[in-house]
């Protein structure tokens, strides 16, 4: 566990706080034919954990298992010291924000939010009062009477969040909470969601395949591939020191494995790289594509260090830059400006020399 | 669907109701084609030996005649080789509607003079209809007569479930006549659509008694028991039979009518519970 996040005490109704056995302690095993999810997951109260992984990695299954919507075939689930392994979803203190929100279309925003408290035994008046307070907190007071189809995507997302929080869950699950939004709305909603998660005192687990959402919203990332955890750590750790190709691609780094002897790493691909770290043994080497410079001919004056003979395999526009895929001595990706690409006259098949600043190549133990 | 050779018993489902008339007309269309060869045979027969019946006779007969007429048809065919009797059994009113609607039948045997009148009024009967059988009412009870019913008056008992035919159908009209003759007020649990469904209620023991025809009691075998009552004499039902104006095979049709009214024919009808007129 990395940090216990912000524990906001400005909310009414709280009070249990983080006990010794507080938080989430889960080992989720779900067997489904050829697919097997086997995931250990722990989180402290107040912590926001993001499950990050490609489609089909098992993130959503993990979320459904936590909610009780997919039965566990093995493992266990404890929340705040209470065993939840075989409890049905309706009796788990868990709130879920679904990917497309699943707001009940026949109920107003207010009644959507009041639904949970009502089901948990509150009187109609009390449930509606609580719902109104939640909507107010979300800045949606004037939309309380609106049916979901009248709400914008961002508003619907906040209603869904209010609905999930209105039951005072001890575990909040968010399934791709921003995936259904367009880019502009996404920016605003992400910022708002971040604020709401920051004051949320219980455990929040977020499922996403978007690294930015994960980095911004989560205190800790759990990278899931093929039903298993492949990497875990703070967003900063994971972004800087990816351990799989999937993460490296997500965070936009070239990633290679090799054996280090001091600052020199002999890559498994063959060539050697000079890095900033002084290490020995199996290591990962990561470097950003824009740390790579391409030359039409072998640059004079420099040594043979971090210089490889390559061939252009493909090119694509990447923002205002050109991402060039190289094969040859060392397969890698390089970013260069449109001007530089034009000057080099790059096209698939062009022979180039790629050089890498040693200061921007980082090695870390594998 | 409506006309079949004699050996097979068919009965128009009465509940078909309004649809029955339509079906009859449709049936008439098929009967047209099938009677075409009967027509030829009849014509050939009458040509070679005048007065000797041959070919197909199509008889429209009331449902209550199903059993007896089927037997009569078989015997008639035996007595007159080369003939075939085809029956269409159904509610008399539906059959009458079929005949006035142009169904190509030779003979119409009705369960009531009233329905026969529909046909004669339309000018579809050749000559005057003749009564060939009579039917009278009986009280039908479950086997063993558990409620110990012996008279029409017994039916007015307070806890007794009695079903009558609706007054719009012949057996209901007859029941009304008999009750009026006896000076009795009887509130049944149901006015059934026809005599067979009234009998069914007794057979299933849903009703304790029903006023139905003797012939129906007889046809039901040991499933019901019949109780005769004197007032039934006031409501005897005449069954008229007639040759039809547009009969395709008039010679054989007349022979069939004669056979029904003969001593042998009357014996078969008596066996079924009919009275001689």
């Amino acid at each position: 566990m990395t940090r216990t996040g912000t524990t906001g005490h400005d909310r009414a109704g709280g009070g249990t706080g983080a006990s010794a056995s507080g938080g989430l302690d889960a080992h989720l095993v779900v067997d489904r034919g050829t697919f097997r999810l086997d995931l250990a997951l722990t989180a402290a109260p107040g912590e926001v954990v993001a499950l990050l992984g490609p489609n089909g990695a098992g993130k959503s299954t993990a979320l459904r298992a936590l909610a009780g919507l997919a039965p566990l075939t093995g493992g266990h689930l404890h929340l705040d010291g209470t065993e939840l392994t075989h409890r049905p979803p309706e009796s788990r203190p868990v709130g879920v924000v679904f990917q497309d929100y699943l707001l009940f279309p026949h109920l107003t925003a207010l009644d959507n939010v009041a639904f949970g408290p009502r089901c948990r035994g509150a009187t109609k008046a009390r449930a509606r009062a609580a719902a109104a307070a939640w909507l107010d907190r979300m800045g949606l007071a004037e939309h309380a009477g609106a049916k979901p189809r009248r709400l914008s995507g961002g508003q619907a997302q906040r209603v869904a969040l209010a609905r999930a929080l209105a039951t005072d869950p001890r575990l909040l699950l968010l399934d791709e909470p921003l995936a259904a939004l367009d880019a502009r709305t996404r920016l605003d909603v992400r910022a708002q969601l971040r604020r709401h998660l920051a004051v949320f005192e219980a455990v929040a687990v977020l499922v996403t395949h978007d690294p930015l959402d994960a980095m911004v919203l989560a205190d800790r990332l759990v990278v899931v591939e093929h039903g298993r955890v492949v990497q875990e750590g703070t967003p900063r750790d994971v972004a800087r020191h990816p351990r799989t190709d999937y993460i490296a691609r997500l965070v936009g780094l070239n990633l290679r494995t090799g054996r280090a002897e001091g600052r020199t790493v002999r890559l498994d691909d063959g060539p050697t790289v000079t890095t900033t770290e002084d290490l020995t043994g199996r290591v990962f080497v990561a470097f950003p594509p824009d740390a790579v410079t391409l030359h039409g001919s072998r640059p004079t004056g420099s040594g043979a260090r971090n210089l490889w003979h390559c061939r252009v395999a493909g090119m694509e526009t990447h923002g205002d830059r050109i991402r060039v895929d190289l094969t040859g001595e060392l397969p890698l990706a390089a970013d260069l400006t449109t001007v530089a690409a034009a000057e080099l006259g790059l096209h698939p098949g062009t022979e180039v020399w790629a050089s890498l600043e040693a200061a921007r190549a980082h090695a870390y133990p594998a | 669907m409506t006309t079949r050779p004699a050996p097979r018993r068919t009965r128009l489902p009465r509940w078909a109701g309004a649809g029955a008339a339509v079906l009859l007309v449709l049936g008439a269309a098929t009967a047209c084609s099938s009677s075409a060869d009967g027509d030829e045979a009849g014509a050939a027969g009458s040509g070679s030996a005048p007065g000797e019946p041959s070919g197909t006779v199509t008889v429209f007969a009331a449902a209550s005649l199903t059993e007896s007429f089927t037997t009569l048809g078989e015997r008639f065919e035996e007595a007159h080789p080369g003939t075939e009797v085809t029956f269409s059994f159904g509610g008399s009113d539906s059959l009458a509607a079929g005949i006035t609607g142009g169904a190509p039948a030779d003979v119409f045997a009705s369960a009531s003079p009233g329905t026969m009148k529909i046909v004669t009024d339309a000018g579809d009967a050749a000559g005057a209809p003749a009564a060939f059988a009579r039917n009278r009412l009986e009280i039908a009870t479950p086997p063993g007569n558990p409620e110990d019913i012996s008279s029409l008056k017994d039916l007015t008992g307070p806890d007794l479930k009695v079903v009558l035919c609706d007054e719009k159908v012949p057996c209901g009209a007859a029941a009304r006549t008999a009750l009026d003759a006896a000076g009795l007020e009887l509130t049944p649990v149901s006015y059934e659509q026809d005599v067979r469904s009234a009998l069914t209620k007794v057979r299933l023991k849903e009703a304790d008694a029903a006023l139905v025809y003797r012939t129906d009691v007889r046809a039901a075998g040991d499933k019901v028991e019949g109780v005769d009552f004197p007032e039934a004499a006031e409501a005897v039902n005449d069954y008229p039979i007639t040759l039809l104006e547009n009969a395709p095979n008039a010679v054989a049709a007349e022979a069939f009518i004669a056979y029904v009214r003969s001593g042998e024919g009357q014996r078969v009808l008596a066996d079924a519970g009919f009275l001689t007129p």
Binding site: C119, R149, A164 | D93, P188, Y191, E206
Partner: protein
């Protein structure tokens, strides 16, 4: 249900937009309707409507005021409406849960049960009536106990009419509701469960409102079927004015002696059905 941004993306999709624009002139007016569809459609319409029109053409309009003022007609009409509505209500109370069971649960032989549920649709109604007598009659398999324990005997009673009509009408409702349930998004029920709703609460507060159009359509079908019910009713409940004689029975018996009166009664039944169905349809259309 479609998230706002998805529809936005679709709107932005130029290919889709152009396609929609291209199609629009064809769908309006009717000149774009293919002849191969239009002709059979018109034949179907004519086939369904001509008999009804013929009924109106031949109706004894002069005798109509007399028919309409006859208390017997009003008794039969009132009884028909009351019984058909009661049968629909019973079908709803029992049929919707059955539809839920068929659509939402797994149990051995479910396919067979589903087929059995639809059996009353193929059974001739008269046979249905006889079957009901054998089950619920005074000496029926179940009926004898009803009679012995509670003194309840259904045949020849208004309740019997409702039973007979429910028997033939409920399958329509069950089939309609089951279809809607299968098409409905089950994830709403999951969302309700995560909010603390039991399966029953989720059904009552989420699923049921969502499948309301299907329930309404099924109810209309069931009501219409019950209103026109003849065979099972007359067989099971008999025929007694103001107690079990519904309009179809009155029509049938009138046909025996007075076809003109039968047509007049049918016209009355038609008019009332059209008024009720059109009224309900409008209400539901505006409600949804």
């Amino acid at each position: 249900m479609i998230p706002a941004d998805t529809s936005g993306a679709r709107r932005g999709d130029t290919r889709g937009g152009a396609g929609a624009r291209r199609r629009r002139p064809g769908t309006g007016g009717g000149q774009g309707v293919p002849l191969l569809l239009l002709l059979p459609a018109l034949v179907a319409l004519a086939f369904l409507l001509v008999p009804l029109v013929a009924l109106l053409v031949r109706a004894p309009w002069r005798g109509m005021p007399e028919q309409l003022t006859s208390p017997a007609v009003w008794q039969a009409l009132r009884l028909s409406l009351v019984c058909a509505t009661a049968a629909t209500a019973v079908s709803l109370v029992l049929g919707v849960p059955l539809a839920w069971l068929l659509a939402r649960t797994e149990f051995p032989g479910r396919g067979l049960v589903r087929a059995l549920v639809t059996l009353p649709l193929v059974l001739p109604p008269v046979v249905g009536g006889v079957a009901l007598l054998m089950a619920l009659g005074r000496n029926g398999v179940v009926g004898q106990w009803l009679d012995a324990w509670f003194g309840v005997s259904l045949p020849f009673t208004t309740a019997g009419v409702v039973v007979a009509e429910t028997f033939v009408a409920m399958p329509f409702l069950v089939i309609s509701v089951e279809g809607t349930l299968r098409a409905a998004d089950r994830r709403y029920e999951e969302a309700a469960a995560t909010l603390g709703a039991s399966r029953f609460t989720a059904f009552r507060r989420v699923t049921l409102p969502l499948i309301m159009p299907g329930v309404a359509a099924g109810s209309v079908l069931a009501w219409a079927r019950a209103l026109g019910e003849f065979g099972a009713t007359i067989t099971f409940a008999g025929n007694f004015p103001d107690r079990t004689q519904t309009m179809p029975l009155a029509v049938y018996l009138a046909l025996q002696s007075d076809p003109e009166a039968a047509i007049a009664l049918s016209v009355v039944l038609l008019a009332v059905s059209i008024a009720v169905l059109a009224g309900l349809r409008d209400r539901w259309m505006t409600a949804s």
